[in-house]
């Protein structure tokens, strides 16, 4: 049995930030366990730019963003193990992992930070009818093939889902010589950033069909075509609106799901809406001493917020190890109200806050000129007018910690007030 103060499960952006911050906050022995052949996680295949505006105040590509953290990890001399797959995380903070170089590894940690990230929703999850030929890829898998392995996945492409990965891949495929015929989105608004709609679709004359979905995949061995159709308000395809495309490839960008098999194994409580652990202000899960941050908790829009959240998780894990975390404090429940899909964290112990409490959330619809309001047992503790809010973008609210320490409310309720819901 090996002993560490803080074990970080996952060496992507979340794990890197958590490890660095744990060390900076005084954790002596920290180790990052990464299942891939290198650190950086999914950022290594996200070769487009647009990362780092919040954290570094400049625009970086994914690998550049990752390398800054990897460099810092190295400079701090933090231990990491590659090709190391964690098989089990237990509530007593033991971990079982394997790697080709170290064989079976058993670790007793004082604190654990879960940073496993997320995976893509598949064709199966949305049950697209038709044949099951080669040529149907989730956008992230295609991204890996094209950007890291150096292979094209198709010549004529239709994309389902207007999430950012799908939009980014539309541009990548076009630049590498493929013809991207259309992007279909079942919702009446795009799931991606406006900037990506413009720079990835408009720049390459790729049409975006909102309120459309794929109704059939053709081709027995390889995709030969797809049919898209407009959907009604219940998201059911309407007959007579079908468009047929001859294509050899269908890319899917239909959502991300936090990867919580290890969390389940440890008996950690999950939020059915986010698919990730229920956490408190310290990003600590329902199992004391096991923390979680990044896309394993909820799917973020920008990696910068993953970093921000994971720094908190790492710092609090270090504090936990040093017994500096107040455990038996009063607990505020934070809840989503009208117009809000979820809030993270779910529980707040004001005694442990530094100067601010950051609440991350997603709205359920597109809102214009609405107010984002937080009430502590009915009293408004935050209110801000927002010109534009959309489910594709995370909203962040910062609340003065002192206010919460003074009020000691039982509940924080976050809601959208006024404004109009917009169907673009």
């Amino acid at each position: 049995m090996q002993h560490y103060e803080v074990v970080i499960v996952g060496g992507g952006p979340a794990g890197l930030a958590a490890a660095i911050e744990a060390r900076k906050n005084g954790a002596q022995s920290v180790v990052v366990l990464e299942r891939d052949r290198e650190l950086g996680g999914i950022l290594q295949q996200c070769i487009h730019h647009g990362f780092g505006l919040v954290v570094f105040n400049e625009e970086l590509t994914g690998p550049e963003y990752a390398e800054r953290f990897i460099d810092e990890l190295m400079e701090l001399g933090i231990e990491y193990r590659l090709e190391t797959m964690v098989l089990e995380v237990n509530a007593d903070k033991t971990i079982r992992a394997i790697s080709p170089s170290d064989g079976m590894i058993e670790i007793q940690a004082k604190a654990i930070v879960l940073n496993m990230g997320c995976r893509e929703r598949t064709r199966g999850a949305i049950a697209i009818p038709g044949f099951r030929p080669a040529g149907v890829f989730s956008a992230g898998t295609a991204q890996r093939f094209v950007n890291m392995e150096g292979y094209m996945v198709g010549k004529r492409v239709v994309i389902l889902g207007s999430g950012d990965i799908g939009l980014i891949m539309a541009r990548r495929m076009a630049l590498e010589g493929a013809k991207v015929l259309a992007v279909a989105e079942i919702m009446p608004y795009s799931g991606g950033l406006t900037r990506n709609i413009v720079q990835c679709l408009h720049d390459y004359d790729i049409p975006l069909y909102l309120s459309h979905t794929i109704t059939e995949v053709r081709g027995k061995e390889r995709v030969e075509g797809v049919t898209i159709a407009e959907v009604d308000e219940n998201r059911k395809p309407m007959t007579g609106t079908e468009k047929h495309y001859d294509c050899d490839t269908l890319l899917l960008s239909v959502g991300l799901i936090p990867e919580n098999e290890l969390s389940r194994g440890a008996g950690i409580q999950l939020d059915p809406v986010t698919g990730g652990p229920i956490v408190n202000e310290a990003m600590e899960t329902s199992v004391p001493g096991i923390f979680a941050s990044g896309n394993v908790v909820h799917v973020h829009d920008l990696v910068d917020w993953v970093t921000e959240e994971s720094r908190r998780a790492g710092a609090y894990a270090a504090r936990y190890v040093q017994n500096k975390l107040v455990e038996d404090a009063s607990v505020i429940a934070s809840r989503p109200g009208d117009g809000i899909g979820y809030v993270v964290p779910h529980k707040v112990r004001p005694e442990n806050l530094n100067d601010k409490l950051a609440i991350f959330m997603r709205v359920k619809e597109v809102f214009h000129d609405a107010k984002l309001v937080v009430k502590a047992d009915g009293e408004v503790v935050y209110s801000r007018k927002k010109r534009h809010m959309a489910p594709g973008e995370m909203e962040i609210v910062q609340i003065d910690a002192q206010k919460l320490k003074d009020l000691k409310p039982a509940e924080l309720l976050v809601s959208v007030e006024g404004g109009e819901t917009v169907h673009v």
């Binding site: 070769i47 590509t61 994914g62 690998p63 392995e149 406006t194 900037r195 709609i197 413009v198």
Partner: protein, 127 residues
């Protein structure tokens, strides 16, 4: 009927995504009037998008002797948008040998724009 030159532009300065209309007006300082936006940055963006749209291009180049067969690269700064495909043709001919350090210039001064194509990650050599 006389109709001034008019362009529809979606602003990408921030996530709001204002629908801008950029109209040719000789007497405006920039030569254009921008309506539909909410901020000064958006106005500047609108005019630039009509007069000289530019983009950062990210892609990969072939590499040998590294962990992976492709190395990610980007233009250090924006280049004129119309050069996107020309740039791809250029970098598709490049083949590097590992090791490469992040920020290393892969192609200098592309199309005399003064912009370099640089490596966006380090790749050490593997046996």
């Amino acid at each position: 009927m006389y109709k001034p030159e008019e362009h529809n532009v979606i602003c990408t300065v921030c996530p709001i995504g204002c629908r801008l209309t950029v109209i040719r007006e000789e007497h405006e300082p920039d030569g254009y009037k921008v309506i539909g936006g909410v901020c000064k940055r958006g106005e500047k963006f609108g005019v630039k998008e009509v007069t000289n749209p530019t983009r950062t291009v990210t892609s990969t180049v072939a590499i040998e002797g590294g962990l992976l067969p492709r190395l990610p690269v980007r233009t250090e700064k924006d280049i004129p948008k119309h050069l996107n495909y020309e740039l791809m043709k250029l970098i598709n001919q490049v083949k590097l040998q590992a090791p490469v350090k992040i920020g290393e210039v892969v192609v200098a001064n592309v199309f005399d724009t003064g912009v370099n194509v640089i490596a966006t990650r380090s790749m050490r050599a593997v046996k």
